[in-house]
């Protein structure tokens, strides 16, 4: 257990040499470091939490001098004058993965702190009489003053935001601030962010003519655009980890898409997600519960991490190592899901969520119960809802807004599960406040219709109310942090779902302010986006190339310069489709007749006794619509959102899922082998030539089943698998990405100039204008003189203007400037 001091000293010496710490920097004169100002804070922040009066891990206490000197169960904590023999020093110098490392499961001490501790032990471990240590939490986050009055409109809210950011950055010395971006760069950035593709020529034209307030007009148009909901469905799909291949996955995707389209308030949506019961066909929101297999533990972990930005799941097995959450907190949250059940119909395999009668979450945990009886846990919400003496204006505004919208809309059932409960029954929403109807509904909640199907969860309904409460400080902030990061490149807190007293929160007041405005807007996504995009912060340029890397990072972290962001995979895909006019045929029929050679296996007429194998012709012929070589990596297979939201039964698909993929595969192979009944036709390979009209057309990546298959274009460009919590998009460059763009069909078809696109004609008439057109269409800007001349010579030296233009466009589509947002 006790490590060799020699190795430790070596590690330490190496570290301090590399880090360049000298004795003189940190050490006070002869007497050693002062206990109260230098040592006490280190012990209080890192050690006393587990070594105190109430909790003496390893039988060691570090809250008083006397206790410290008693040492722990195995060795002396401090040997005065001998740091190399003091367990306190040895263990803090270990690496975090070593056995016995301290602080156990905590953050390693800094080099400076380690040096101070060693020095203190060496110089006598002086501890003033009577000083008792108590645990200290990390320093609270610094905040600046909030604006006192509510903003008159979104533009003013954005101005307040900029003002807060500026005041929060005041302490940062010589912070570089990038200039604002040009109008055209703004058009490109905003269009990409809001509707998930680059702007078209018509849109560029329209924007240029829009006048001085074109930026705010553009934001309004984009917020109202059809594609807005599709683009932001991707955002939610990542956040909620929506997977098309899970029961209810596609319905959930369609539900989210529709919710955005209809401007459903975010809190209402989350309320529905948490409380839903029933089948995905009739209540698509239930996909969230089903996605976690209706497992109380998984649901508690996901709900706290996704909606509240708190990684409470780490407390599933033990008290949270890096935070103050106890295992009991986690169990009490899980208990809200403790009666939820996932049921699979035996008849047709349909999967649904319902509410059972018994509490399945028990305390103590199984592995800690020993012989003690385990009892059902009472659901308790571990987060406090803030009570205000005087209600802040954002809450008043929120309540006003809610009253108004409630009054103006015909009353709908707040609880979507009711829909599922009364599935098939016509519920004309007559007098909503009718006490008899209310009573009937209350009763119907308790009824077991459809043989105990789809029971509504009172517990989850209650939890949903607590989670989404405007008085719950975590809910709005967690969401705002994500939206901000989506638009600005990184969040106030990173990772985005890890709010804790122990992780860094930058610009806390800016975050709070946006969260309050988001609540005041009635949790309206578009209002939140509007404020962010109207701010100066959003409209900043990148830092120029000649700045030091550290300066660049500091400016980006403080939101005084925009980081370079690569387009999302889906956005890149759709931008290629738009830039290359590939959403519809750009060639007349018969213009691209190609003779292709294909290897086919033809039966020889002979048979032999042998095996069945996975690559039999029968299997190949089953998939005629996709490429047969395994490289169907750029297609888009659409999901029809509308039909998913209809109430038609899709039980055959559901029953497929009854079996695991592995089992289906095994049965398929076995069936194929049987079919050939061991006598197998002998085949020979022949080259067959065919004529095809290769007139490509691509649809939007936004509508694809999601996530795409592995190695697909979207996955290569960072689409996550959405399997685990805490998984975010990768934006690394890769070899595969480059090969896909260099040689892929999408880029190449986009580069070719089709007779049905405007450029075709312009190219014949006016080369200069054609070059300008190509630049505008692909990069949303005109070429400068150098670029224009270069393009001119490229096209003139090519074997035909069409080929030369295709080469130019291919390069533009492959360029950094296309792939990375302005």
């Amino acid at each position: 257990m006790v490590k060799k001091p020699l190795a430790v000293t070596l590690v330490f010496a190496l570290a301090s040499t590399l880090a360049g710490f000298g004795q003189s920097d940190t050490t006070a004169a002869a007497g050693g470091p002062d206990f109260v100002t230098r040592i006490q804070p280190i012990l209080e922040r890192n050690c006393v939490r587990c070594h105190n009066h109430d909790k003496d891990k390893g039988s060691l206490r570090l809250d008083t001098y006397e206790e410290m000197m008693k040492g722990g169960a195995e060795a002396d904590a401090v040997v005065v004058g001998k740091p190399e023999e003091s367990e306190l020093i040895i263990r803090t110098h270990l690496r975090p993965i070593d056995e016995g490392f301290m602080p156990d499961e905590g953050q390693m001490l800094t080099g400076e702190e380690l040096e101070l501790l060693s020095d203190w032990v060496k110089t006598g471990a002086k501890w003033p009489k009577g000083v008792t240590l108590t645990e200290k939490k990390p320093e609270p986050v610094k905040r600046v003053a909030m604006p006192e009055r509510p903003p008159a409109n979104a533009a003013q809210a954005a101005a307040y935001l900029d003002d807060i950011l500026k005041r929060e950055n005041a302490a940062e010395k010589e912070l570089f601030k990038a200039p604002g971006i040009s109008d055209m760069a703004f058009l490109r950035r905003a269009t990409i962010d809001l509707i998930g593709r680059i702007p078209t020529m018509d849109e560029i034209d329209h924007y240029e003519k829009a006048g001085a307030d074109r930026r705010s007009k553009l934001i309004e148009e984009l917020l109202g655009h059809d594609r807005f909901s599709e683009r932001w469905t991707i955002f939610y799909a990542d956040m909620l980890r929506i997977r098309s291949n899970l029961p209810g996955g596609n319905s959930l995707l369609a539900y989210v898409n529709q919710s955005i389209e209809q401007s459903k308030p975010y809190d209402t949506m989350v309320h529905e997600l948490i409380s839903a019961s029933g089948r995905p066909n009739s209540n698509p929101a239930v996909g969230y519960i089903l996605g976690e297999n209706a497992d109380p533990m998984e649901l508690a972990a996901a709900t706290s991490q996704i909606f509240l930005g708190v990684r409470l799941g780490c407390a599933m097995c033990h008290d949270h190592p890096f935070d103050d959450w106890q295992q009991k907190d986690f169990y009490e949250l899980a208990a809200f899901f403790g009666k939820t059940k996932r049921v699979q119909s035996r008849n047709n395999g349909t999967v649904y969520a319902t509410e059972g009668h018994e509490m399945m979450v028990m305390w103590p945990p199984e592995d800690k119960a020993k012989d003690k009886p385990r009892r059902p846990v009472a659901p308790t919400f571990p987060f406090t809802l803030t009570e205000y003496e005087k209600e802040p204006h954002y809450l008043t505004r929120f309540e006003q807004k809610r009253r108004k919208s409630d009054a103006s809309k015909p009353k709908q059932d707040k609880d979507a599960a009711i829909e599922a409960l009364l599935d098939g029954i016509d519920t004309s929403p007559s007098k909503p406040k009718d006490p008899i109807l209310a009573e009937a509904k209350r009763e119907s909640r308790k009824l077991n219709v459809h043989n105990d199907l789809y029971r509504v969860s009172e517990l989850r309904d209650q939890l949903a109310g607590l989670v989404t409460s405007p008085r719950n400080g975590f809910f709005a902030r967690a969401f705002v942090n994500r939206v901000w990061a989506e638009l600005m490149g990184h969040g106030f807190v990173e990772p985005l779902d890890n709010f804790s007293d122990y992780t860094e929160l930058r610009h806390a007041t800016t975050l709070d302010y946006l969260a309050h405005e988001f609540i005041a807007s009635g949790y309206d996504l578009r209002s939140l986006i509007r404020i962010i995009m109207l701010s100066d912060a959003y409209q900043l340029d990148h830092i120029e190339g000649d700045h030091a890397l550290t300066e660049r990072e500091r400016a980006e972290k403080n939101f005084t310069a925009a980081p370079v962001r690569r387009m999302l995979g889906e956005v890149l895909y759709d931008s290629l489709v738009v830039a290359g006019h590939l959403s519809d045929y750009k060639w007349p029929a018969g213009a691209n007749i190609k003779t292709i050679e294909r290897q086919v296996r033809v039966p020889t007429g002979e048979t032999r006794m042998i095996d069945g194998d996975s690559s039999t012709p029968a299997m190949q012929e089953a998939k005629t619509t996709i490429r047969r070589d395994g490289y169907d990596l750029e297609s888009s297979l659409e999901v029809d959102f509308d039909s998913l939201l209809s109430r038609a039964e899709k039980s055959d698909i559901a029953s497929m899922k009854n079996k695991s993929d592995e089992q289906i595969e095994a049965e398929k192979m076995a069936a194929m082998a049987r079919m050939q009944s061991r006598t197998r036709m002998i085949y020979r390979t022949e080259i067959k030539t065919e004529k095809i009209d290769d007139n490509p057309r691509f649809s939007s990546a936004m509508l694809m089943a999601t996530p795409a298959p592995p190695a697909h274009f979207l996955r290569v460009f960072g689409q996550p698998t959405r399997e685990g919590l805490g998984e975010f998009r990768e934006d690394h460059s890769s070899l595969r990405q480059q090969l896909m763009m260099l040689n892929g069909r999408l880029t190449n078809e986009a580069a070719r100039v089709g007779p049905k696109e405007p450029l075709h004609k312009i190219l014949q008439e006016d080369l200069r204008r054609a070059i300008e057109w190509a630049y505008l269409e692909i990069l949303t800007r005109k070429p400068d003189a150098i670029e224009s001349n270069r393009a001119h010579s490229i096209i003139q030296s090519a074997s035909s203007p069409a080929e030369g233009m295709a080469d130019l466009r291919w390069a533009l589509l492959n360029s950094h400037e296309f792939r990375y947002q302005p």
Binding site: L10, V11, L14, A15, L18, A19, R95, I97, L109, T110, G111, L114, A301, R311, G313, E494, H542, I543, E544, G545, H547, L549, T550, R552, V564, D611, G612, D613, S614, S615, D629, G630, Y631, L633, E662, E665, A666, M669, A670, A673, P710, A711, G718, G726, E730, S733, S734, R736, Q738, L739, L742, G744, R745, R790, E803, W810, S815, H816, R819, Y820
Partner: protein, 417 residues
């Protein structure tokens, strides 16, 4: 030097390394790479059999027991070592191979068990562990022009915290041309080169203006992509260079071609090849299914070992056959076997592994380990040890969380090395 092409934030990573050293971690240790002088193997060919392959009908027959099933054991080139009759050709190569018959899995669910077998860790929140191939190419230097890690006929596990750059290069169907490795149809070489020149000019202007690390990283990736497209090593993908006889010997089917391609790739310096095969989740009619599997696997594996031996590569190439778990000793009413993780087997050959060894044993009916239980992560430790990778080393996730290469307590199987 790592075999993963890490194009991302190269300078930023260096900064992070430095700040990590400030935290008291020895920088020399973090930079330490595998010690090739300790390596007995240079390459790995992993046959990943997805679905849970029956141990009883392959490597661990139980003659005379109720759990035996339809197959009889056959003698192999190693006295006393018997395997299932579905592997008659492979039986003659077993003096090059070792069997581990006492693996103790901990998950009976496909997803979790696949994660466990492929990464050596159990599923945990907020971290994704890298698969074996990603780990190996991260730790060992690259050997040639081709990607260090190639997956055939399906996907390899993800690289997790090691990042996308350590993920496998994907080969759809062995023997078919990869359309992404050459300029597209209609673009001849000079035209393609001209396009690349135009592009390089544009990119240099953009990255010069913004000074952006990400763009510079993308340019390195682009250069590597072009180098790969022009590499003579690409010929390794073309099975038409092999004689019809050779193709027939491996089996002219996807699995046989996959094994043949794996051999060709290893010859060209690919560090880790994973060949995927599905169809082992035999809840019904298992014997028919396994007979069919044997008919494909037997000639392919036997020919591979034979050829590697003949060309002198076997001693440096570790061939492994793994699956996520075994199957129930009891034969169910559908003539199948269900999931069984309590004990199952693995096959290893070459790469310095002591041929002809049997490690551990299951009990009489193949229910539990009978002697010398082997933990799943001992297999990972063994593979790492064969490749000279220090299993006590830790790696860092991008947010600085230290991770062990092999789960704590994992030990290489000393009998094999």
């Amino acid at each position: 030097m790592s075999g993963c092409n890490d194009y991302f934030y190269t300078r930023r990573n260096m900064l992070k390394l430095f700040s990590a050293s400030v935290l008291g971690m020895p920088i020399s240790r973090m930079m330490a790479q595998a010690d090739p002088t300790k390596a007995s193997a240079e390459h790995v060919i992993l046959f990943w059999n997805s679905g849970g392959m029956s141990h009883l009908d392959t490597w661990d027959p139980k003659p005379g027991r109720k759990t035996q099933g339809e197959f009889n054991p056959i003698k192999t080139s190693v006295p006393g070592m018997e395997i299932s009759e579905i592997f008659p050709q492979l039986a003659k190569q077993m003096h090059h191979a070792a069997l581990i018959r006492s693996i103790q899995g901990t998950n009976g669910d496909h997803g979790r068990a696949q994660y466990e077998l492929q990464t050596g860790f159990n599923v945990a929140p907020n971290v994704i562990h890298p698969g074996l191939g990603s780990l190996v190419v991260h730790e060992r230097e690259p050997l040639g022009d081709l990607p260090a890690f190639i997956s055939i006929s399906g996907q390899a596990p993800r690289a997790g915290y090691l990042g996308q750059q350590c993920e496998a290069y994907y080969v759809g169907r062995p023997g078919e041309k990869d359309p992404y490795l050459a300029f597209p149809e209609g673009i001849h070489h000079e035209r393609g080169q001209k396009r690349l020149e135009i592009l390089a000019e544009m990119n240099a202007r953009a990255s010069g203006r913004t000074g952006c690390e990400e763009m510079k990283a993308a340019e390195v990736a682009l250069k590597d992509a072009v180098n790969l497209m022009e590499s003579p090593a690409l010929k390794a993908f073309e099975l038409k260079e092999e004689s019809q006889d050779t193709i027939a010997r491996y089996g002219d089917n996807e699995f046989g071609r996959g094994a043949l391609l794996a051999r060709r790739l290893v010859e060209k310096g690919v560090r880790f090849v994973q060949v995927n095969r599905g169809g082992f989740d035999n809840h019904g009619n298992i014997f028919e299914a396994m007979r069919n599997h044997g008919a494909s696997m037997d000639p392919a594996l036997a020919s591979l070992i034979e050829d590697l031996k003949a060309n002198g590569k076997l001693s440096k190439t570790l061939v492994v056959v793994l699956s996520e778990f075994g199957r129930t000793p009891r034969i169910n009413n559908n003539g199948g076997r269900d999931h069984w993780a309590r004990v199952f087997s693995a096959f290893m050959a070459g790469g310095g592994i002591k041929g002809g060894s049997i490690v551990g044993a299951s009990d009489a009916d193949g229910m539990d380990p009978g002697e010398r239980p082997v933990k799943v992560y001992d297999i990972h430790a063994t593979i790492c040890a064969a490749l000279g990778i220090d299993i006590t080393k830790e790696l860092y996730t991008h947010d600085g969380r230290p991770m062990k290469i092999v789960r704590k307590g994992g030990q290489a199987i000393s009998e094999l090395l």
